[in-house]
Structures are given as structure tokens and as C-alpha cells.
């Protein structure tokens, strides 16, 4: 699939003030995973044009918007305290309807 990349870029900065505790956050910050629906991308009918008859057109449903990240975790490894570390996560809409990013939150 040839996926074009828009110029849109979303940024998040975690500025860790003193009131925000560091370390051992994996358990406390992590919410319950959302329920996962079972729907997948719809597969278009693979029939040849000769199979299509007048008055019997089939409706091919659009698949839902599908959010896919290249990766969902990045490990910076060891770093010096006081570092400002940057990483870019790429994501795509592999569905066939508009994907609407409602919001981005962070712990």
C-alpha cells in the first residue's frame, strides 16, 4: 500500500516538574486496555468485471478508519539525567474512511 504522509505533525512534550513522580510508573499510570472490537478491514469483492450484472450491483462496504503505528514503544536506553530525548512515532490510516484524532494525552 502506497501510503502518503501528510505534513501534519503532533507534538507532545513531557515536562517533568518536581511534583510528578518519576520511576515505577509503569503500573500506576497504565489504564485498563480498551475493549477491542472484532471488526477488521472489509475486503472488496475480488470478482472480475464480467461477473457484474446490471441490476445486481453489489455494495462494497467501506472499512472503518484504522490507526496503525510503525511502532508503539521506543526505548531510549541509558541517558544522563537532565536529558531531553526526542523520538518521532509515525502513524497511518490504513482504513478507507477518515481517521479523526480526537485527542492525545500523556501520563
Amino acid at each position: 500500500m502506497n501510503i502518503g504522509k501528510s505534513l501534519l505533525v503532533i507534538g507532545i512534550i513531557w515536562l517533568l516538574a518536581g511534583s510528578i513522580s518519576c520511576g515505577k510508573q509503569e503500573a500506576s499510570d497504565k489504564p485498563s486496555p480498551p475493549a477491542r472490537a472484532s471488526s477488521g478491514p472489509a475486503k472488496p469483492d475480488g470478482g472480475a468485471a464480467a461477473d457484474i450484472k446490471m441490476g445486481a450491483a453489489k455494495v462494497v462496504p467501506l472499512s472503518d478508519p484504522t490507526l496503525v503505528f510503525d511502532e508503539d514503544e521506543f526505548n531510549f536506553g541509558s541517558a544522563t539525567m537532565g536529558s531531553q530525548l526526542t523520538h518521532t512515532f509515525n502513524f497511518y490510516n490504513t482504513g478507507s474512511q477518515d481517521l479523526v484524532i480526537i485527542r492525545v494525552r500523556h501520563t
Binding site: 503532533i10 480526537i102 492525545v104 501520563t107
Partner: protein
């Protein structure tokens, strides 16, 4: 927080993450959640993690940051980090994540294959067209096949004028 960004079918975008570790110690794990209208995954979780001032770190470097300090906008500048392999084994350095080219136009690792105890230099060249103000980016690298050796180094500065 970001609201109502539309990604058409077949298109993509990116999420820039900056992890500031000013007052943290030890292992740091942070999460971001992207809420969307994808019915299969309405809340997508991504994670970043780092180990700060890791006593087990064996790819050591100095200085601790590639700091360009205050520098005139458009000025040419380089900063060098000396990196030493203190592992008991040889490593071949591989770059996992490069610095943002908006800030660092190029970088060069003089020797990527380091025997135990050997050092090399990483030279960062400042980009020409940085906007005025504070900037920072980072480089992440490790010994090939040795993910436990991974390190990230901050590159920063302030352009004036």
C-alpha cells in the same frame, strides 16, 4: 492535547515525543494515548522509556551533552562527543534514531567498530536554518545485537538573532 485532526484514508502523520528528564532518576516509563474514531482501537497506547544515570551503562561519553550553547543564527558550528566502549566485549555502533535534521545537518561517527576500552568521536554539525530560540534533539545508538548497550545523547543549544 490535540483535537479533531483528520487523517484521510491512506495518509499518515507523525507524533513527536520529547522526554525531559530534568528531575528524574532511575527507570522512567511514560505513556501517551491517542484517542481516535478507530472502532477497533479507540485508545492507542504508545510508550517511551529510559534509564537515567544508569550505573550499568558501558558506552560512556563526554561531555554529557552536545551543547552548542548560545550561538548566532546561521553560524557554522560543530560539537564533538567522545564515546568509549567500556564493555568487556567489542561493539559495532549502530544508530537507532538520528538527530532531527532541522537542528543537526549531519553527524559523523569516526570509528563505528570499537574494541573493549577503545574510544571514538561523534561530530555533530549545526544546521544552517534553525529558528531563533532553544532547540534540542537527540541521537540513540547501541552496539549491534547488544540492545542492553543502548544510549541516547542530547544535542541542544540556543540560537540568537
Amino acid at each position: 492535547m490535540t483535537r479533531g485532526i483528520v487523517i484521510p484514508p491512506g495518509a499518515g502523520s507523525s507524533l513527536d515525543i520529547t522526554l525531559s528528564t530534568a528531575k528524574c532518576k532511575e527507570t522512567l516509563v511514560k505513556y501517551a494515548y491517542m484517542d481516535s474514531n478507530d472502532p477497533a482501537k479507540p485508545q492507542y497506547e504508545i510508550r517511551v522509556k529510559a534509564v537515567l544515570d544508569n550505573p550499568k551503562q558501558m558506552l560512556n561519553y563526554a561531555p554529557l551533552f552536545a551543547d552548542f550553547g548560545q550561538i548566532a543564527k546561521g553560524a557554522k558550528a560543530e560539537r564533538t562527543i567522545k564515546l568509549t566502549n567500556n564493555n568487556p566485549f567489542d561493539v559495532k555502533l549502530v544508530v537507532i534514531d538520528s538527530p532531527d535534521q532541522k537542528y543537526v545537518s549531519k553527524y559523523k561517527i569516526k570509528d563505528t567498530e570499537l574494541k573493549s576500552g577503545e574510544s571514538t568521536e561523534i561530530v555533530f554539525t549545526l544546521a544552517d536554518n534553525i529558528h531563533s530560540g532553544i532547540f534540542y534533539t537527540s541521537i540513540t545508538l547501541e552496539g549491534e545485537g547488544k540492545p542492553e548497550t543502548r544510549i541516547s545523547i542530547t544535542i541542544k543549544g540556543v540560537t540568537i538573532g
